[in-house]
């Protein structure tokens, strides 16, 4: 299968700060869902920002579709890759439709095509355009906002999606619902996804492959089943958070 993103001996650190990544290697293949798990500060978001050139590596090479990100035009690259954040970052002064249609607008799509695509995307994420198109972000629930964020990221059908803890701020029921939706959409579109989370349960349910990050290094990168069987103490610590609560621990 074709490699879409690769990290070769990549190091990154802010000037004057401790290195966040050092000698980091990773390959992402087309159509897979790669979930990076690690505790806060493990460098997960940094990896995403290195992919869409919000950051450039201090050493080593990051390639997207075979080209060094240093050689990519940053604007072009970012319009080529969808991006979904935990805080969503919807534009509060625009309607739902305008938010979703923003990248097509930047790409100078004609109005008709933009409207058609926006409606199609809103239907895809389960928000009927007839009811949601003219609403503003402040009128939406957290789950609805996150759906709009996903629709916005998918607007010009990018081959790749970067997701930074996209379901982190949602209540458990909504989160579950959205995960199911996500899998459905991903399978339908075949989009390559790099998703970062600190939630091992999320990784196990969504991922084709899981990469476990610790202190700026990738300690395991394998299928969910093999990761769950890993005996590495750093991986076990993350897996231990999954343990179901025994009956005797439930408060009376």
């Amino acid at each position: 299968m074709a490699t879409v993103v690769s990290f070769n001996a990549v190091s990154f650190g802010y000037r004057g700060g401790a290195p966040i990544l050092s000698d980091f290697n990773l390959e992402v293949v087309a159509g897979e869902v790669l979930v990076l798990v690690g505790r806060s500060g493990a460098g997960k978001s940094t990896i995403l920002k290195l992919v869409n050139r919000l950051l450039l590596p201090s050493a080593g090479v990051v390639t997207v579709e075979g080209r060094d990100t240093c050689e990519w035009d940053g604007i072009r690259l970012r319009r080529h890759i969808g991006y979904v954040l935990q805080e969503v970052g919807l534009f509060p002064h625009m309607t739902v439709a305008a938010n979703v249609g923003l990248v097509p607008k930047l790409e100078r799509w004609p109005v008709d095509r933009r409207r058609e695509r926006t409606h199609q995307l809103l239907d895809l994420v389960g928000l009927p355009a007839s009811r949601y198109a003219t609403r503003r972000p402040e009128e939406l629930s957290g789950g609805e906002r996150q759906r709009v964020g996903v629709a916005r990221a998918l607007a010009i059908d990018p081959p790749m999606l970067l997701m930074d803890e996209p379901f982190g701020a949602l209540d458990p029921l909504t989160r579950h619902e959205l995960r199911v939706e996500f899998t459905r959409i991903q399978q339908a579109l075949g989009t390559t996804v790099i998703l970062v989370t600190h939630d091992m349960a999320e990784a196990l349910t969504l991922a084709h492959r899981i990469g476990v990050l610790d202190d700026g290094a990738l300690i395991v990168c394998d299928t969910p089943r093999r990761v769950r069987a890993s005996q590495d103490p750093r991986v076990r610590r993350l897996l231990d958070t999954l343990v179901t609560i025994p009956d005797e621990a439930v408060a009376p």
Binding site: L85, F91, L106
Partner: protein, 506 residues
């Protein structure tokens, strides 16, 4: 109240033109401040290295008292001069700070996630600015524009002091005539205007914040502004370019003298632009030198001491000759005196004069330790004013003198807020407020013969100017002047009417 309504209905056309001018000053200065201030605010956020000094500069401009700023700008080339230009520059400087500050605050308060999303979606910095940052900072920026415009409406009243027009003209005219009706005639519309501007912009701000009805509100606001500017631009055209511009200081006698000059020039068939009520000696002198006015009436003693910083000769004829020489060296022509000597008069209330047997300034020395004096700013500053007076007569006041606008001091004396003032010998208020002038036995006050001074270039160009002024030479006695002052100050007659009647009967 009735007096006020009568005044407005009698001066409806003038009132409307003053309101128009006032709005013109505020809208143009606020508009320019927005065009400069918003980019400055953006720059300040993007490049703090430039931003910090920029904000400091705007801050400093804000702290300069408005009258001082107007006075400071007057003599400067391009931005200065008597009239709306100087006022616009000053008002723009005042409006800059609120606009810059709220632009910076608005941009800095934006949600980081929203900005990050914009960048990650592939917006260029310019697209981010226009599509995300400025729209989101707009309510804050409009709040700044609102502050700037309301400050502008208030400050623009002071612009009348430098001949920029606006509602301040009634206020200053009313102050100089001690006419509270006229003061209110200017102050009330100015206050109403401030409330109106505040209300309109507050509505716009609300519409922007909720995001509802944004389009209609913005369109309506834009339409109003465009319509106003169009109306104002048409009405703002000043008189013909070739008109001789007659100036005057800001008190009744000077306005009367300005009208007398103007009428005399008009009777010679010369077009005239009146730039009366300009402010004090310094402003008129600077305006004359800068070529913003062509002629005004000065007093010999004031010219020699305050303008040329020399000792005033006690002989009136010698004083005229000296002033004429000094003016001539600077391209200005001093004509023949008009006839009366408006010296300073030290004034007390008549009942005080009787009670303490005060006849001359010498007698004042007895009561001075317990008394409070009130003087105009100029009199307090000038060597031939207060400092020389206390020295010549050995006066010791118990308290430092109160500094106040010349237009207020007669009233302050009559109201017993001060006990002794320096006023004009020709003031109509001396009789009207039952005041008494103390005799200047030591001849401390030098001669103050009223005499027109004009730009020599204009005198040579327009022979009619000399003919007109020669017609006035030596014709106006002190009694004439007091009578005219009285007609305007006490009988509330229009200065131009009084001047015309005087010339007709002369």
């Amino acid at each position: 109240m009735t007096a006020l309504l009568e005044f407005w209905s009698a001066h409806a056309a003038e009132l409307w033109s003053l309101v128009e001018r006032h709005l013109f000053l505020v809208i143009v200065s606020t508009g320019v401040a927005v065009l400069l201030g918003v980019p400055a605010g953006v720059l300040a956020v993007r490049r703090p290295r430039f931003g910090r000094p920029l904000l400091a500069l705007a801050n400093t401009a804000q702290t300069i008292p408005s009258l001082a700023l107007f006075g400071f700008l007057l003599p400067l080339p391009f931005v200065g001069g008597v009239g709306p230009r100087t006022a616009l520059v000053a008002l723009t400087l005042y409006a800059l700070l609120p606009v810059i500050r709220t632009t910076v605050a608005g941009l800095k308060s934006l949600d980081r996630a929203v900005l990050e999303a914009g960048v990650a979606m592939g917006m260029t910095p310019r697209q981010l600015l226009w599509m995300v940052e400025l729209p989101l900072a707009l309510p804050s920026i409009v709040a700044g524009i609102r502050v700037a415009a309301v400050i502008g409406v208030g400050t623009a009243t002071i612009a009348a002091a430098i001949g920029a027009g606006g509602l301040g003209e009634y206020i200053f005219r009313g102050l100089s005539m001690v006419d509270s009706t006229m003061i209110l005639a200017g102050a009330i519309p100015a206050a109403a205007l401030a409330l109106l501007v505040d209300g309109l912009l507050a509505g716009l701000e609300r519409a922007l914040k909720t995001g509802r009805g944004l389009r209609p509100a913005a369109l309506a606001a834009a339409a109003i502004v465009v319509a106003l500017i169009a109306v104002l631009a048409m009405s703002a055209r000043s008189g013909p370019e070739t008109a001789i511009r007659v100036g005057s200081k800001n008190f009744t006698e000077q306005i009367l003298l300005g009208e007398l000059l103007a009428l005399a020039l008009e009777s010679e068939g010369l077009p005239v632009a009146r730039k009366l009520n300009l402010g004090g000696t310094f402003i008129c002198d600077r305006a004359l030198r800068a070529g913003d006015i062509d002629v005004y009436v000065e007093y010999t003693g004031t010219a020699v001491s305050a303008i040329f910083h020399e000792t005033v000769p006690r002989d009136p004829a010698v004083a005229v000759r000296l002033a004429r020489e000094r003016y001539a060296a600077q391209g200005l022509t001093l004509f023949e005196p008009l006839g009366f000597n408006n010296s300073f008069a030290i004034l007390v209330r008549a009942d005080d004069a009787r009670r303490f047997a005060l006849r001359s300034i010498d007698d004042l020395a007895r009561v001075a330790p317990g008394w409070r004096a009130g003087f105009g700013y100029e009199f307090l500053q000038r060597a031939d004013g207060y400092p020389g007076l206390v020295q010549a007569y050995g006066l010791h006041f118990g308290r430092p003198p109160a500094a106040m606008d010349v237009s207020l001091i007669y009233k302050a004396l009559a109201d017993r807020r001060v006990d002794v003032i320096a006023g004009d010998a020709t003031s109509a208020l001396i009789d009207a407020l039952d005041l008494k002038a103390l005799e200047d036995t030591r001849r401390y006050f030098p001669p103050y013969d009223a005499v027109p001074v004009a730009r020599t270039a204009v005198v040579l160009e327009r022979p009619g100017l000399r003919r007109a002024l020669q017609r006035l030479a030596g014709r106006i006695s002190a009694a004439d002047m007091r009578a005219m002052n009285r007609a305007v100050d006490i009988d509330r007659e229009d200065a131009r009417v009084v001047a015309r009647r005087y010339l007709a009967g002369d």
